[in-house]
Symmetry: C2
Subunit: 171 residues, 2 copies
């Protein structure tokens, strides 16, 4: 799919129909994620790929805004790893992993799939819950859980262009 | 350009040849930026579009890793606006503006241009310098300065795929 078409068709998909996502599609999405830039090229990100229905259901039951995970074909937990980030910085780790996650969301769209960023960080309770279910170490930040699947029904992206957000020359 | 081609061709471009970027191209890039998702759809981002050669040169002389800004056709300062973010949160504002910035970098690539994320946040001195030059209010975070232009010479993207970063089923 064309880049601009992809970027403008991407929407937060919260309802899924049953589908199978092939190994090559998961890999294409994760390759896209890892193609993101990062401060001093440290790539301080990790991904937990969850396809076990029981685990998906536990995540859906535990995280308040991630119920659709129970119906998704799978989910990717995108993690930020400050230990590997430039300067050991949490800020850079979170930013860099966020860029990887944005690539993941776009890649799902480009494959005709749907996905949604459900925030884990910076909510401490959600971080603890995800750590417990997926065994994420204390030093690693579970940033976002991204359920991915076949969208149920048509996907309508919002037009969010606001000319007032563009400041010409200076603020 | 195809989405996956765009994502894998994107590289941090730090040397520019003279070129003109048309109004429609700036708008296409900024429209792509604003198509990013944000927590509770708050869109806590703002963009300062700088095309004045003198201001570009001042930014280049002031920011330690943004010297290429002097040769770029222009630059976009991507800002995070916690006041508009979900829960007034700095974390969500920074994440959401980061996603917008990633779309901007990809859009530049899709247009055959080059760009690079030069970090302003979380470096307090750089934030103060950029605020002074571009009049950014105290309540707004100058996240990244992105010089954009025609790449000087061939652009070679890195292959950053690391299978060790994918954890199957659980960490």
């Amino acid at each position: 799919m064309d880049f601009f078409e992809t970027v403008h068709q991407r929407a937060s998909v919260r309802n899924f129909s049953p589908c199978e996502i092939h190994e090559a599609q998961w890999e294409a999405m994760l390759r896209a994620a890892m193609a993101a830039p990062s401060a001093v090229n440290r790539q301080p990100w990790d991904f937990v790929l969850v396809r076990d229905r029981e685990v998906l259901t536990r995540l859906a039951e535990t995280l308040p805004y991630a119920r659709m995970t129970a119906e998704a074909a799978g989910a990717v937990l995108v993690c930020a790893t400050p230990e590997r980030a430039y300067d050991g910085s949490t800020e850079f780790a979170v930013i860099d992993a966020s860029l990887a996650c944005q690539n993941l969301l776009l890649a799902a769209t480009a494959l005709g799939l749907g996905a949604v960023w459900t925030a884990v960080y910076p909510e401490k309770e959600r971080e603890a819950a995800v750590r417990a279910i997926l065994g994420v170490p204390e030093a690693v930040i579970p940033l976002a859980l991204v359920p991915i699947g076949k969208p149920f029904g048509p996907v309508a992206a919002k037009d969010k262009f606001r000319r007032e957000s563009i400041h010409e020359g200076s603020w």
